[in-house]
Symmetry: C2
Subunit: 387 residues, 2 copies
């Protein structure tokens, strides 16, 4: 298996954007490729786009070809769009990685993009139902907030987790987002504002949830031989894992306060990388809801199951702690444009490991991790490292 | 890179089906996995689903997880849906191949599925517009038939191709389909019926076009070490190539009578396999319209550019010729359920190389090829061989 590096990264501003699906992808792609001279651009021989539902929100399929042509890339070895609901961006990175590792492509552009805000707000909300099983769950009204609320309630029952614990996570991520010019939210609410925000699904209040966001992100991956031509500071993909417990809530393990597939995905990634959870200094974790980040602390091995609250309350995931979780502001602060999220996480880790994260910089970060999930039973973990 | 084999295959009946998206995928998946004992089923560690627009036709995304759970597969290493419009099925096979070749997964189920016929026929037709650039081409009325008609007209001008040549291809494929119980069409029209069928886009008549079809197909891929546990007659993936000239018609090379990206994709596949076009005895070629098969003869190297008519008229692509093209009946005979087509092509090659194709059997076939395109400028070629 060949070594693979990230050699460039770029993002669009996240938010409720007056831009089309194509324009968002172009904004991120150009931010990623803008510095490259033409002779290096021509060496891009593949494209993988992570996106979930442009068929609904832009009446457009055939996505990889659309984005390649928009960006002036002509794929000679690999062209595809990859979808895995909320983890589509990380899945896209994994697929580019697999093709390069196997020797089937050399330099692959990965774009994650989603345009979720459409003129009719009700339609934007209903579209999210595409992610839930239509026959067995969506038909009975299940959406993401109540599903994750079940996990929060399980964690409360088992460990005494409070709304204030969830609020602490939300505030941490909003503070970080306020230092990130790409983030959907640029302001920090007061604890009182979070506590008094609208109840969405008990115990999850509005500010414990990620918003409906438009955005795009891009990274360029290259085989080791090619990487050095693109940058003198490549960030290596050290390992990756993906695992599934189940799709529908009904088939998940009964105790929702711990997610076995996350532990399995992280274990696969660390085994491949030859690293341990304690080696990670910066982690982009899938906080679609605050409870998800809390549960992920144990799944990712940053603490033992049941010790998530100690880890959080002692400042473990904040600056100064052993691993800074969501320095870019997470999904709660940056928003969650489905296919874009996993790629935006990779952008942040790329910048953090190169010391380019400005006011968000985690000092001396050498190993970074991204965690992306789609539902509580499906997880992707990718590990990155610098020389 | 590890060797990869196809070790099982199965299909749903293609047609206008009274079945949901999920039911079609289940039918193919069960046909593929039905013979496997439980201990072998549990070794499936990945799933890749090729499909284009379930978000429109089934209001469902999050596809890989849905199909895995429906089939009782728990992916521990790989789960994704891959989309590349009409070549989504072949793209899915390539992605499973890449993960196995790179050592990231061992046994991966590939399902191709599409439910195109919806209750409102106008919506079914409009949905196909998702495959065309919305801003620049669909907005001006471009759909697939006129695009391929431009290629047919170019071929007519340059080589004197007649409607009867296109009819000969359609009739060959309908004859083959009539021997294939999975095909959409089970009857053979008379030459007169084809000649008098409705003009769709000059010179393409109704019977020169593939229909709007529902269906699914599945293949199981395994690394060499695992393959022998699943079957004593594995069919090896010898090589694969994908290449893109352009997406929009406006950016394609001016002469539409030859497709450079097809030659490039086939060249990549043969270079990887160490084979030549003349080594291929059976080829599943993307005849979305009859002209596409004609042009592909040269792109795939079965004859030189400009000699397609000689090759066709001398029986080159029929039984008894050097390479039997579309023995299962092609897209014209079997229908074209987008994501299912590439996987159905692989099923046919699997059966042909194992001598299991019944009345369609190509005697002594050792090397088979599938060709799948999405538009005239984007092509995938996969080569398969038996020991």
């Amino acid at each position: 298996m060949r070594k693979v590096a990230v050699v460039a990264a770029g993002m669009s501003r996240f938010g409720v954007r007056q831009a089309t699906f194509r324009e968002l992808a172009a904004e991120a792609g150009r931010a990623c490729l803008g510095q490259l001279p033409p002779e290096l651009r021509r060496r891009i021989d593949g494209i993988v786009v992570g996106t979930v539902m442009p068929e609904r929100t832009a009446f457009q399929s055939h996505i990889a070809a659309l984005i390649a042509e928009t960006l002036g890339v002509r794929p000679r070895r690999l062209s595809a769009r990859v979808e895995h609901m909320c983890q589509s961006g990380s899945a896209a990175i994994r697929h580019a990685f697999a093709f390069i590792a196997a020797g089937l492509a050399d330099v692959v552009l990965v774009v994650g993009v989603e345009k979720l805000n459409v003129p009719v707000r009700g339609e934007a909300i209903l579209n999210m139902g595409c992610g839930v099983d239509r026959d067995w769950e969506a038909a009975f009204g299940l959406t993401a907030p109540p599903a994750f609320a079940f996990a929060a309630q399980a964690h409360q029952r088992r460990y005494g987790t409070t709304e204030d614990d969830l609020t602490a996570i939300a505030l941490k991520n909003r503070r970080n987002a306020a230092r990130n010019p790409y983030a959907h939210f640029q302001t920090v609410p007061t604890p009182e504002e979070v506590r008094c925000s609208r109840m969405i699904a008990d115990p999850l209040r509005l500010y414990h949830c990620s918003p409906i966001t438009d955005g795009a992100a891009a990274v360029l991956l290259a085989a080791e031989e090619a990487a050095w031509d693109f940058t003198d500071r490549p960030v290596w993909v050290l390992g990756t894992g993906q695992a599934v417990d189940a799709f529908t809530l009904a088939n998940l393990p009964q105790d929702l306060s711990f997610w076995p597939a996350l532990r399995e995905a992280a274990g696969t990634a660390h085994a491949m990388a030859g690293t341990h959870p304690q080696d990670v200094q910066v982690a982009e974790v899938h906080d679609c809801f605050a409870i998800a980040e809390l549960i992920a602390y144990a799944g990712l091995g940053f603490c033992n199951p049941g010790e998530e609250l100690d880890f959080l309350r002692s400042g473990g995931p904040d600056y100064g702690g052993p691993v800074v979780v969501n320095p870019r502001g997470g999904l709660i602060g940056c928003g969650h444009p489905l296919g874009a999220t996993g790629v935006a996480q990779a952008c942040e880790v790329f910048w953090q490991l190169r010391g380019e994260a400005g006011p968000r910089q985690v000092p001396g970060a050498r190993i970074g991790l991204t965690h992306n999930n789609s539902g509580m039973g499906e997880h992707v973990v990718i590990l990155y490292g610098r020389d």
